[in-house]
């Protein structure tokens, strides 16, 4: 069975899923997720990952743990992920408040345009750029992920796989945030949390004899605690201190559509930004905010060097500014799944929740084995994991289709979300998160553990330490230790297994190099 059979089977798995009201359930789930994503993205204080985290336990209760559950659940989550990126532009343009952090640059030109009465045109440009960037990135994903996975499986043995995990972690810790040292501490803490009660021996290590910890820290408790509760605690304190009490922006008239000539003129800008965003997205840990910044600054430099008589300067309502930002931040989401699907390494918070979903449902283990032809069963049968991967790709393109067709219209409706005050919304998000944890773990102890990690996440944000290396190291920690154990045993207890093969040696050297190089970053 060739690759093409898997592509077709994956496509059919989506289209032939059980119909509800005559529509295949996976399609329906992508649609719901997408609409929810736009809504959430348009709500300042909420972000895609929050909605993904809270939906997950509900989705699992609906669909259960069978292999049939994967596509509807992942389709919904992918819908949220994609919807949130375009939703973030709405309040940025209409009210000068970015709905998601990566839409900050959109406010710079979007709001001035809205003030000039061109809000509708700005939204249309944002939508067009976002959808283009996203689609481009997905195409790159579909082309690259399988090849990368096959390369890894063919050339990397256990020691090299261990070294590759170390390199990824070192890279993530170094590039996220402003301080390499703090990134590495964050990563060390994540590794430590992953070690609790997970040893090979029957003694539950590092549990301080607490039976509540004997099963280890529930993954969802640590991740939701650090990522969501930590953010909620911080945002509420900002409100308490009056720092976030921005005046409710005045409503601007939404009018003046974009002409298609307008959009055609922007295509080169969008193209450059999409490439920047895709390259950045493929590297684990770098994230859409940096992509947006780079996309915007590169377009700005170009624009300043070659001013266009028909277009205002950047910062004064230049359509190029919106296009560059939105194309760049949206093109991160597809490319971000390259390391997820081919290596099992999550690159940002959205990817973390996709991996969490795959982990909780089971039957799909992201990593190089996904793209093995024959899939470990035999030559004659389809590899169910590879079919699933192409099913996931299909859902991504369906989400893109929705984005192109109804995304723009829906975007204009959700502006109202901006008016919900954060002080009301965030406490509800918090209770929803804790309830989501409880229904999964059914123990109050898990709720307390989540709160503990919430406080940890809060402190990390206050001392300028990014929580993302913690989360990624927590997810990969078990995998890293297991691979290292296996590599050590497989090489007949060779203490230098990480340095004995040329590929592993290069990975290790790069890991040290990336930390050393990042140290030279100027202190802000």
């Amino acid at each position: 069975m060739g690759v093409w059979d898997h592509v077709v089977a994956g496509f059919l798995a989506v289209l032939q899923s059980d119909p509800v009201l005559g529509i295949p359930i996976v399609l329906l789930m992508v649609l719901f997720g997408f609409l929810l994503g736009i809504t959430v993205g348009a709500t300042p204080g909420l972000a895609g990952p929050m909605a993904m985290a809270i939906s997950l336990p509900i989705l699992i209760s609906i669909f259960g743990y069978s292999a049939d559950a994967l596509l509807p659940v992942l389709g919904f989550l992918i819908g949220i992920m994609k919807g949130a990126t375009i939703g973030g532009a709405v309040p940025a343009i209409l009210f000068n408040t970015p709905g998601t952090p990566d839409a900050f640059m959109t406010t710079l030109d979007g709001y001035p345009m809205a003030q000039k009465g061109e809000a509708r045109r700005a939204l249309r440009i944002a939508h067009f750029s976002s959808a283009s960037g996203d689609t481009f990135s997905d195409i790159v994903l579909v082309v690259c992920a399988p090849f990368l996975a096959i390369l890894v499986e063919r050339y990397l043995d256990l020691p090299e796989k261990t070294a590759l995990l170390i390199l990824s972690l070192a890279f993530i810790a170094s590039v996220i945030g402003n301080s390499v040292g703090k990134g590495i501490i964050s990563m060390g803490l994540g590794l430590l949390a992953a070690m609790i009660a997970t040893g090979e021996d029957f003694y539950p290590r590092l549990t301080l004899n607490q039976p509540a910890l004997a099963e280890g820290i529930p993954i969802a408790a640590a991740i939701l605690g650090v990522l969501i509760l930590g953010e909620v605690f911080k945002a509420l304190e900002d409100i308490y201190r009056g720092e976030a009490q921005a005046k409710p922006p005045e409503q601007t008239k939404v009018q003046g559509g974009a002409k298609s000539k307008d959009l055609r003129r922007l295509i080169p800008t969008i193209g450059r930004s999409a490439i920047i965003g895709t390259c950045i997205g493929a590297l684990p840990g770098v994230g859409s905010t940096l992509a947006a910044t780079l996309g915007y600054t590169s377009a700005k430099r170009r624009h300043t060097n070659r001013p266009d008589a028909n277009s205002p300067a950047f910062g004064e309502g230049a359509p190029e500014g919106i296009a560059a930002t939105e194309a760049a931040n949206s093109s991160v989401s597809g490319a971000n799944l390259i390391p997820v699907l081919s290596l099992g390494i999550p690159g940002n918070a959205a990817a973390v929740f996709l991996i969490l979903a795959m982990d909780s449902i089971g039957g799909f283990n992201p990593g190089p084995s996904v793209f093995q032809l024959g899939g470990g069963i035999n030559e004659g049968a389809l590899n169910p994991e590879m079919v699933m991967a192409f099913g996931i790709f299909t859902t991504m393109f369906i989400a893109n289709g929705l984005n192109w067709t109804i995304g723009g219209i829906f975007m204009r409706w959700v502006g109202v979300m901006t008016r919900i005050p954060k002080a009301r919304l965030l406490p509800i998000v918090l209770l929803l998160t804790l309830t989501a944890i409880y229904v999964q773990e059914t123990s109050m102890v898990a709720v307390w553990i989540t709160l503990f990690f919430g406080f940890l996440g809060y402190v990390m944000r206050r001392i300028g330490m990014s929580p993302l290396p913690f989360v990624i190291a927590f997810i990969l920690g078990g995998n890293l230790e297991a691979t290292a154990r296996q590599a050590f045993a497989a090489t007949g207890a060779d203490p230098f297994f990480l340095f004995n093969s040329p590929i592993a040696f290069v990975f290790m050297a790069l890991a040290i190099g990336v930390v050393a190089f990042s140290l030279r970053k100027p202190v802000p």
Partner: protein, 179 residues
Amino acid sequence: MKPRASAEFWLAFFFLTFAAVLIFVWVPLDTGTGLVEKVRRKFVIGDALGPTVAAAVIAIGAVLVMMRPSEGKALTKTNLYWMLGLFALFAVSLLLMRYAGPIAASFTETGYRPLRATPPWNYIGFLIGGTVMIGGLTGLASRRLAPRDFVIGFVAALAIALLYDLPFEDLILPPNGDL
């Protein structure tokens, strides 16, 4: 020392100490096997190695922070009071969540356990605890306790309870899985 450098120094110092305690006290006392073990006449990696590496990573990070201090954000006293306030609120609301149902049911013949899956008993703790949590948090953040916030809290808690409880038979609201 400039304030920024000083904050960074103490941060790094804290994590260095933490890493040292891990490597020399916690990990040796609280793991079943050593760094490496001889099993079936071969060496294998023991359970202490992973945590020791994690601690070493923390220590390396701390040393790098000392060498290259950055923006120097630090926890302030206000941050600590804020955390204390949050903690107190969570303690109160989670205790209410846990015990309100059983206390209410102690006036019945059977007690809470047989009633833990029966409305309205199974909602009592969640609704009271959830209302206090949401209303209290909103009040804390906006610096005034308004009855309206508790009404919103109650409505939200009820909506969440119904969201999980009505469609899904196998989902259990807090605290009913502990009872």
